[in-house]
């Protein structure tokens, strides 16, 4: 369980996006984890093959807990180092379902032989690992079915020979436990609305319940909402909230997480604040010219230019980039721009646009649209939530002129933009009306002084006067 932010101590596994035997590459999303703030996709940190999934969906575990074991060819990284080669081979068998289907007989034969072996082994070693027992008690095809249906094989009583778990056993258990296919956003919505996912007909692929199904169920009288019966997304949190979660339990958890982080910031970080009003006439004119020449899908919004300027300025004034850790300023080489995104159901997240200073404006704009969309549908990636080096909050769409923000610890600066407004401005001794924005800087006084902050804002100003160079 990776730490997906300075404030995260535990996370709840929502679903696996891979299964044992799958080949994975570094950076591939392998699981969805629910934090107090939102559902986030966790990326794999190495190439390899998934050997074993150690944590069941629906379980809340502390940061640092091993979620899965990766096999790297013949070598295994299993913490206990105790997985026999038979099982590795067996998981490989399940890799391709088509192939598994064609060679059912072969697998059955191999499985029969293995069952004999493992009966001996089980007799010899009472301390055999759970996974080995499970492997011995069923066939790869049934294991796969159990995984697909989210059935815990150890809890299934086998009706086959020597207590082996059969396909029928898993199907029965699956019906009993009623593990429900639903998207992370749907689970969150259900938790917030106090809707029981059981009894909702999913309209997604394979009957997966989508958020709109939950909302439809919540508004329709046909499905009784049962807040007292924890929805699956809320169920794994008994350690946090012993009583059944309130309908807005998740929103409350998110509120608590923000409360904790912002309190920590104001408690520990000596903020100083600077502000300047920037003439955007050149930037807006350049953007309009650009937008006239491209299809709607490729149009820019002022926010894209403002974000790019903030990122480039962070590279030019590195004192504003990075983290204050253990009494020192850690300055990463890259600029990962945190973008504060307000969520429709309340709260906010500030995921990173990676290497924002190096992106072209069209690329930054596309990245921004993608990031905001995924933030609001619960599909952020772990790396995006963990590593912003400086954050920007743009409240322009909310109509305010300026925002003096609170720094996200352990970052050392936060940039705020207000609304782009037409203002009277003196230009070359004459009064003109031009679009302007108020840019602010909240900075950590431990990491630098006001003069450096002033240099940062002056740099942002200069960059926005030359939009063609952005």
């Amino acid at each position: 369980m990776p730490s997906l932010g300075a404030d995260m101590t535990e996370g709840s596994l929502v679903e696996w996006l891979v299964r044992p035997g799958d080949t994975v590459v570094k950076g591939q999303a392998v699981a969805v984890v629910d934090t107090a703030k939102s559902a986030i996709e966790v990326e794999c940190f190495e190439d390899g093959a998934i050997q074993e999934l150690l944590v069941e969906p629906g379980t809340t575990v502390p940061v640092g807990t091993v979620l899965a074991v990766l096999a790297d060819g013949g070598r295994t990284d299993a913490p206990a180092g105790a997985t026999d080669t038979g099982e590795t081979a067996e998981t490989a068998d399940t890799e391709d379902s088509a192939e598994a289907g064609k060679t059912v007989e072969t697998i059955k034969a191999a499985e029969a032989a293995k069952a004999t072996d493992s009966t001996k082994a089980t007799g010899a070693a009472d301390t055999a690992k759970t996974t080995e027992r499970t492997a011995a008690r069923t066939t790869p095809l049934v294991r796969r079915l159990a995984h697909d249906r989210h059935v815990d094989l150890d809890s299934v009583r086998g009706s086959g020979k020597a207590g082996r778990v059969t396909r029928a056993d898993v199907e029965a258990a699956s019906r009993d436990s009623g593990r429900i296919r639903a998207t992370p956003y749907a689970r969150r919505t259900a938790s917030e609305l106090g809707v029981d996912l059981r009894g909702i007909d999913g309209t997604g692929t394979d009957g997966t319940i989508r958020a709109r199904d939950v909302r439809a169920a919540a508004s329709g009288p046909a499905t009784p909402a049962r807040p007292a019966s924890p929805a699956p997304a809320a169920a794994p949190r008994p350690a946090v909230s012993p009583e059944p979660p309130a309908p807005d339990g998740h929103a409350q958890a998110r509120r608590q997480a923000i409360a904790h982080l912002m309190s920590k910031s104001k408690h520990e970080i000596p903020h100083y604040y600077l502000s300047t009003t920037i003439d955007l006439a050149a930037a807006v004119a350049w953007m309009r010219e650009h937008n006239r020449a491209v299809p709607v899908a490729e149009r820019l919004v002022p926010a894209a230019l403002l974000l790019k300027a903030a990122a480039v300025a962070a590279r030019k004034v590195p004192e504003m980039n990075g983290f204050w850790i253990d009494g020192g300023h850690v300055r990463p080489a890259a600029v990962h721009l945190g973008v504060a995104v307000s969520l429709r159901e309340g709260g906010l997240v500030a995921p990173a646009l990676h290497d924002a200073d190096t992106l072209s404006l069209p690329a930054l704009m596309a990245g921004l649209r993608d990031l905001v969309r995924r933030a609001r549908t619960g599909r952020l990636r772990a790396s995006e939530t963990a590593d912003p080096t400086i954050t920007v909050t743009d409240l322009g769409d909310q109509g305010v002129e300026a925002v003096f923000g609170v720094i996200y610890p352990p970052q050392v600066a936060l940039v705020g933009y207000g609304r782009v407004l037409d203002r009277p401005v003196a230009v070359d001794g004459l009064l003109g009306v031009r679009p302007c924005v108020t840019a602010t800087l909240s900075a950590d006084h431990r990491a630098g002084d006001g003069a450096v902050g002033a240099r940062y804002l002056a740099t942002v100003d200069r960059l926005l006067h030359h939009p063609e160079d952005l």
Partner: protein, 81 residues
């Protein structure tokens, strides 16, 4: 395109472009950006969808005329003749 058709495609485009935006109970003269809390990215997605579905080119200069359901429908009726 008549006014009813235009209103329908405006509502559908809003729903498609902005997940969670429900314009069914919205007064036809309510300001969309405020009532539905659309930010500039939402609004761009709406324009993109509306233009794609109707084939009507929408310039940035037209944005100001797309502030309510009524105004959007009127804009489409004018442009489609």
């Amino acid at each position: 395109m008549d006014r009813e058709q235009a209103l329908t495609v405006v509502r559908e485009s809003l729903a498609a472009a902005v997940p969670g935006a429900d314009s069914s109970g919205l007064a036809s003269d309510a300001v969309l950006r405020e009532e539905l809390e659309l930010d500039s990215l939402d609004f761009l997605s709406f324009v993109e969808t509306l233009s794609g579905r109707t084939g009507v080119g929408i310039d940035e200069d037209d944005y100001a005329r797309l502030d309510t359901l009524e105004a959007c429908a009127g804009f489409l009726v004018t442009r489609t003749g």
